[in-house]
Amino acid sequence: MSGTLDQLFVDARDAVLSLAGRVAPDSALPWISMGLAVGVIAAIAPVIMMYLTWLERKLIARFQNRIGPNRVGRYGLKQPLADGLKMLIKEDLVPAGADPLLHLLGPVLAVVPAILLFAVIPFGRNMAGADLHVGLLYVLAIGSVSSYAIFTGGWASRSRFSLLGAMRSVAQIISYEVPGVLSVVTVIMVTGTMSLVGIVEAQEARWFVFTPWGLVAFFAFFMSGIAEVNRTPFDMPEAESELVAGFHTEYSGMKFALWYMAEFLEAFAICAITATLFLGGWHGPAVPLWGLLAILAAMTAGARGLGLPARAVGLLLLAGAGLRWGAEAIPSWIWFFGKTYLLVFVLVWLRGTFPRLRADQLMGMAWKFLLPMTLVNIAAAGVWVAFPFPVGTALSALLLAGAYAALIALNRPASLEPRTYLLAE
């Protein structure tokens, strides 16, 4: 496997380690290996976040028939740098009467778990930062720290908007954690492992989204994930029309940027974990790389925003990559990031389509629909495992369809008779 484009990053790590092995003692090598993974993740996470803001602004603009940022650099590509610089040099305001320590701790507490989430995600074949045996448990545990961070920030701001936003946020995150976790239980049941690498390997033959229980769990988990990272249409905690900006109303400068970083990183992590658990992670059909390169070449050739020399250089690079690696299958990490960014696109798509839910609709969705549905889904996964292929699939699909119909019927809003005013006549 080594020497292929698929293992490019693994090979690079091995090369660095063998170089380090000449000067460092053998006992230090595991630490250097870990440090490399940590360093790469810690360095790449802010870059991912910065360009996620760019991507989101570009995509949402297209949904609204606009162009989006295009002033700073080609296609607005330097916009995130300009924004970061602006955030850095802005004054850091702490409201009078606020708790300065907690006010600082809030955004830090939000960013750290968001970056920690990336430690266990398998970005490609042999490319997980740490293959924990309890990786999934780790993800769920670390992911729920963000509610503490949000409440810390909201409480410490000494502002009613912040506090209200934080309270809404905690209520929402705790509510949606329940169906989120319950939907993941099915994956653990079927694969028998909590290691994310193990879960991906179990999907070699079939992605879990193509099973009846997997489809339901995929939607339930993704929806809960969107709600947990406070994104539209579940962005009640930062409802700007009601709460100014929710829990980060009183934040400015770099602290505000940290809130945003945490939010975008968590959104990205949710997409990555959903891709890992249900969309087969880094698995993908064995399509030769030149297919992808041809599409990229067509896009480069048609990029009117770039000058002709830039396009020529891009085409030459792509042609070189095609000559070197064209016959190989598309590397696992491209599959993984492709799936993740597809889910990111869905996030933006949802944001571009739906207005914010009402508080009771939001809670009702979690408790009255998603929770029973995921409970039934656990039973469906059990049936799917217990019976052989056609019977198990049919039975679990039937079970889930019945539960869906029953829940819809039970949750139908009461249609009241038009009120008659007896004394009005």
Binding site: L59, R62, F63, Q64, N65, R66, I67, G302, W349, L350, G352, T353, F354, A405, I408, A409
Partner: protein, 202 residues
């Protein structure tokens, strides 16, 4: 179940996806192949790079119309617009000769000074409506900036002069109407005055 729950969600998502695809060339081709045309496309006007498209009726500050050469003004300095102007931003002085009698050019009196303070003008178009000679019209230029209040912001006679051809290019419909009116007026005046000279509109 009368309708499938979640169908509306899918419909909404499809509607936005169609608009999204409609902003890209290949996306438009795809939509065409699927028979899903009629999206808005990109509606952004990249204004500083490309001139903005505005409706013909868009108006900003008034200008003075001349026919042929810049000294052949339609304005006779009658001061009706000065009196009617609600924010009183127009200032007119009629040209007099040394003896204090009105001077004439092309058979008409004409203004020696005609100033419009554009920082006061509210673009109401009343001056255009009251002018009996169609001598003042509304321009659609708006990219004006100055560093002092009374320098560039007060347009004098020379700054306000525009040819009738310019008027025809910026507002074809309105200019055609004005031209027709002036022509009719000229024809009516012609039998009374005999052979009217060119540009002798009054």
């Amino acid at each position: 179940m009368r309708r499938l729950i979640g169908l509306g969600v899918a419909k909404g998502l499809l509607a936005t996806l169609r608009e999204f695809l409609g902003t890209y060339g290949p996306g438009r081709l795809l939509l065409k192949a699927l028979g899903q045309e009629g999206t808005n496309g990109l509606t952004t006007q990249e204004y500083p790079e490309r001139p903005q498209q505005h409706a013909e009726r868009f108006r900003y500050f008034p200008f003075l119309v001349y026919d042929g050469s810049p000294d052949n003004l339609r304005c006779v300095a009658c001061k009706i617009c000065e009196q009617e102007c609600p924010p009183q931003c127009i200032h007119i002085v009629m040209q007099k000769d040394e003896q204090g009698r009105v001077a004439k050019a092309h058979g008409r009196t004409f203004p020696a000074e005609f100033d419009i303070d554009t920082s006061i003008c509210m673009s109401c178009r009343i001056c255009v409506d009251v002018c009996p000679f169609d001598a003042i019209e509304m321009d659609n230029r708006y990219e004006y900036a100055g560093q002092d209040r009374f320098g560039r912001m007060v347009f004098d006679r020379d700054a306000l002069l525009r040819s009738n051809e310019y008027f025809r290019t910026i507002k074809p419909t309105e200019a055609a109407g004005v031209d027709r009116r002036l022509e009719a007026k000229q024809k009516k005046a012609a039998p009374a005055q005999g052979s009217a000279g060119s540009g002798d509109g009054s």
